[in-house]
Symmetry: C2
Subunit: 348 residues, 2 copies
């Protein structure tokens, strides 16, 4: 049974996820196992059309008319994660025994299979397919927002083994938690302080400054701005913000979806071209759900794209301070100059 | 010139380290470069005796009588990092322009070369050599504590490429910063709250409980306790605390050094045996320096050992919540049962 535990010293939460329980012996000779897993993937990928029975039954899909659930004919398919870190039916309540505080590991863990083609890559999806992925993200976000006991919905995409992807077939994930992550809580507090002091939105102000300065801008369109943040933790880190102030990703409108799909494809395409398909995490930041207050409405949802070209090591874990060898101004310049047209030639 | 930058939203600090500047093109075809670097290491390791001219001049060494600096004859050798993330002579002052705050990247970055033998491994050092490494750590800690403009001294050891080690030869590092890391500041605040509420030390209480319960204890001796923390972020994460309340690592006494060396060797030996030499980060947590207050004296220094068997991915970066598939109680049981004697047979 998965469990949230809070550290008595740092106050940070972890999920002890026994569903994906690794016995200590599973970590021994991990290289052999990886080789083996890779072979299995090529033979029978559980995310490829025709292998639908290898996943739990689908909870949502965009599919061709007159095709049945859990059969081919889908464009995007959402299924519960087979090795879920959190479980929807988890029972129990908060416990506090002396220094030790825990919560049942109740929540949602889903996989969004983004496209039928095993070898496809997000920047090269047909534009309409990229929009479909975002539609699926929005649908799942809104669906889980209605569950009163969930407080946060984390959508993310890991690409490449170094970035945590265990399967090659293009997919993203959704994890919904019964608590507000400390990262988001901290940003909300900061935005409130700023609002009180300046009487304007920290996020909206930041977008305006970045656009004015221009040196860290990677791309923009009518609805979105992509820039390398001033204090980038990772080389080529890029944030994608809607111009319009919206606290929840679930508020995204149809006419924004196309522009968001286009700018994600654009930025990922530049990254793929310039840095030869680097591993990355693409991470949603959004307001907590079921906590409608002035504070949470002050939040401004966005995506953080974190290329994994450097190694997070002892100094970062000790201090929480990241060392980044590439100034964001240089990264932005390099990405804006990357000619992604070259790469798209001859690609599907 | 390296620079600290504070993120206007998260308030987190990063170091933009232009001394180790990576041009974007350096990230392309990184696999080829790694292969090449590895070959170079075997041919001429800059940390091996006889190659002393390949490093900056030594700033400290434990060496045999009548041997000259920067020549063979040392047991432990400390040199400035050739690719320093922070520089001692960095000039300038804090800047705040609109939303953007920065500090000059002034600080210290040193490498502690732990042993002359290239192939040695910490758990298998002669016990006296392990003590020498700690003596060097303490000497450097105390040395830099005397610089009034430094606020924190981070000692850490990265082992294995996945954990950030770029050279194989056994070494550790020291980075001293002009600001107090947010991780440590948060722990100090929490310890103060606890002190006000319970009138006792959070850390001392935690040690006592862990020893009583026993289920997470990995090893202990007269001066130190090693246990897997209740909310472990990583499988087999282990913390090593002195029983005695000391806020600074620099306060460690001669008679503690031997017990600390012994327990680090013991724990790392168990890890090496049980998990076939996994990559890890070993990270000091200690009170800020040059900030003697009631709050900082309430801190209790310790080491955190973080094996890198899992991948930190999108969910962790989005939420700050780690998913750990191995309960610490199971990890502790496995480590206590690891028979490290077997492995030491036939090793030097």
């Amino acid at each position: 049974m998965p469990e949230f535990r809070q550290d008595p010293i740092t106050q940070n939460w972890v999920i002890i996820s026994t569903e994906r329980a690794k016995r200590p012996s599973d970590f021994v000779s991990s290289k052999d196992r990886e080789q083996k897993e890779k072979a299995t993937i090529k033979d029978t990928c559980p995310f490829c059309p025709g292998n639908e029975e290898q996943t739990p039954p689908e909870v949502f899909a965009l599919r061709s008319p007159n095709t049945r659930a859990d059969t081919p004919g889908w464009q995007v398919r959402v299924v519960p994660n087979k090795f879920a870190a959190l479980l929807p039916k988890e029972k129990g309540r908060e416990q506090k025994v002396g220094l030790y505080r825990s919560l049942p590991g109740k929540g949602v863990h889903e996989v969004i299979i983004e496209i039928p083609e095993h070898e496809a890559s997000f920047p090269n999806y047909p534009p309409r397919q990229a929009v479909r992925v975002l539609q699926a993200w929005r649908q799942r976000y809104l669906q889980h927002s209605q569950q009163g006991d969930l407080k946060y919905i984390q959508i993310f995409k890991n690409q490449g083994q170094i970035a945590g992807a265990s399967l090659e077939h293009p997919h993203s994930q959704l994890l919904a938690t019964p608590l507000v992550p400390p990262t988001v809580a901290q940003e909300i507090r900061r935005a409130q302080e700023y609002l009180k002091e300046k009487e304007s939105c920290l996020f909206c102000d930041l977008l305006e400054r970045e656009m004015q300065k221009g040196v860290r801008v990677v791309a923009f369109n009518k609805k979105f701005l992509a820039f390398c943040p001033y204090a980038s933790r990772f080389p080529f880190e890029t944030w994608i913000f809607p111009w319009q102030h919206q606290s929840h990703f679930g508020e995204i409108e149809d006419e924004q979806l196309e522009d968001l799909a286009a700018i994600i494809q654009d930025v990922l395409g530049r990254l793929q071209m310039a840095l030869q398909d680097p591993p990355f995490n693409l991470v949603l930041r959004s307001a907590p759900v079921n906590e409608e207050t002035e504070e949470t409405r002050g939040y401004h949802w966005h995506f953080e794209l974190l290329p994994r070209l450097t190694t997070v090591a002892g100094f970062e874990y000790g201090t929480g301070i990241y060392i980044n060898p590439t100034p964001p101004e240089l990264a932005a310049q390099f990405l804006t100059q990357a000619n992604k047209e070259d790469e798209n030639d001859g690609e599907t």
